[in-house]
């Protein structure tokens, strides 16, 4: 089991002129190759801050993020881009990009100064298109396809970037149940077939429990990482929402509303 990313006594939060806002401290997380890891927590708990910190966009308050045993702060942008790829929630700016061109942009860390695709690059793009099963869309413009398809295209772009770690920020938002399930299954398949580690944040806790290998639960008091079954038996899910109307049924493995 190869550890790709780990955090050592990590404290995350913001520093402004007035004060330091601590979101979570003493985080010791471990992301291993071939695992699908779900990050869950209530709105505003700091999931994005955690993701921003472990992707090196934001500096930690204390502690270190190690990517392949090297401090992420010491990576050059281009080297980091060959280790870590992202799928973000933000809307794409208007452009005429076709699906193929969009996925091929993932090869930027490897191409020459003008971005010429070599045969290797084209093969990697083709592979990414096949894995995500979107070959039939290649000639379409990115604004012509559905939200579910676009999400797959963005995942294909991250795959083409050929990194051992892929991080997705709420990839299932705006999708219906059918597409949520198929996206989760796709992520699961990708971790198994490519041995990549995939970390994603989500609000679809029921699905995440069923399909992910590990989960990271964020609550105001603590952050825990474990396999879903262990988290259930530990009762960790009950600490997720501070509301007496929602409880977690350990037998059924889902949340129940009173």
């Amino acid at each position: 089991m190869t550890t790709i990313l780990k955090t050592s006594n990590l404290s995350i939060g913001y520093t402004s002129k007035k004060a330091t806002v601590l979101i979570a401290k003493q985080l010791n997380l471990n992301l291993v190759a071939g695992k699908l890891v779900a990050l869950i927590g209530a709105n505003g708990i700091g999931k994005s801050t955690l993701l921003r910190t472990i992707t090196g966009i934001q500096h930690p308050l204390e502690g270190t993020v190690f990517l392949n045993d090297k401090n992420i702060a010491n990576y050059k942008p281009l080297d980091l881009a060959q280790q870590l790829s992202l799928v973000l929630t933000e809307k794409l700016p208007p452009s005429n990009l076709s699906v193929f061109e969009l996925v091929a942009l993932g090869r930027q860390p490897y191409t020459n100064w003008i971005g010429t695709l070599t045969q290797t690059d084209i093969d990697k793009v083709q592979q990414a298109l096949e894995l995500t099963q979107i070959e039939h869309l290649t000639q379409k413009k990115h604004y012509e396809i559905s939200d579910g398809q676009l999400q797959k295209v963005l995942i294909a772009r991250a795959l083409a970037q050929d990194t051992p770690l892929i991080i997705l920020d709420e990839p299932t938002t705006h999708l219906d149940l059918l597409h949520k399930v198929s996206l989760f299954k796709l992520l699961k398949k990708l971790t198994q077939e490519t041995n990549k580690c995939i970390l994603f944040s989500t609000h679809d806790i029921d699905l995440a429990i069923q399909l992910s290998d590990e989960m990271i639960i964020m609550t105001p008091e603590m952050v825990v990482q474990d396999e879903p079954q262990h988290l259930i038996s530990k009762g960790s899910f009950n600490t997720l929402f501070k509301d007496e109307n929602i409880t977690f049924d350990t037998e059924k493995g889902k949340f129940i509303i009173r």
């Binding site: 790829s85 452009s95 005429n96 969009l102 942009l105 993932g106 930027q108 100064w113 003008i114």
Partner: protein
Amino acid sequence: MIDKKRNSILFSILGLALLFMFILDISLGSVTIPFKEVFTSLTGGEASKSTWEYIIINYRLPKAITAVLVGVGLAISGLLMQTLFRNPLAGPDVLGLSSGAILAVAVVILGAGLLPSFLQSILVSSYTLVLASTLGSTAVLLLVLLVAQRLRNTMAILIVGLMFGSFTSAIVGVLTYFSSAEQLQKFTFWSLGSLGNLSWSSIAILAVCVGLGLLLSAASIKPLNALLLGENYAKSMGLNYTRVRLIIIFATSILAGSITAFAGPIAFIGLAVPHIAKLTFQTSNHAVLYWSTFFYGGIIMLFCDIASQLPGLDTTLPINAITSIIGAPVVIYLLMKKRNFQ
């Protein structure tokens, strides 16, 4: 790969069209010169009338070269701005660079009335105008760079450009109130733009500035493609955003600044030409868009120059009026035709 074949055909047509328009621009003018004589003069031979040769070498050829430099430079800087600011309506004038030049020139021409008369004559020579507009656009460039360093938001930079435009027209309005009819006329002529009257040494300086701007733009082709997915994706693909943004802003400024300095503020080329290029090639790939914008910029500017001096017309119409008359309907047409305006 059908695209590749289609693109190379389109580029051949555009290249030929540019050459054709260039020769046409030199052939036409208020004095009718036979085509054969035009060709002889251009290739270094002696035309049968020395005045013809003089007109072609010292008047029409520099003007045609200026037209190409101005058209290409403004169009490319528009392309850079539209991608950098993720805004289809961005252009060099929107950044406020033209406004900076206009303000500086207005202060020199219109404000000269407030100075003693011997200073006036020194101030209002054509060289001071070039110097003033260069300084004006450079000052705005520095301001924009300062804002770009402090505000991470690209929209904010656009708004600063717009505000600077309003500020400029207000100051110009105040200055016109206090200036003489003669000064007003001089300022109006400059603000209408002109491709002629440039000496070979001025053209050389302009060519160096435009060449530098075009080289920097060509070096930004790959980052510009990454920016099509937005700043955060671009960064995640290894782009050094701060540096790329500085290079692109600098390239735009040097293109727009030098062109405005020598040819006056020329509207719509920077805004409309990239859209015509995008419409023809149906792509967002800047490796293709760069060259199509390049060719279209030259062709359309030469066309505007020809239109401004239609045969049979004794006077030359102001070039800025022509670009606006052609450019504004084109932009409206594009808006109507393409709902997904990119």
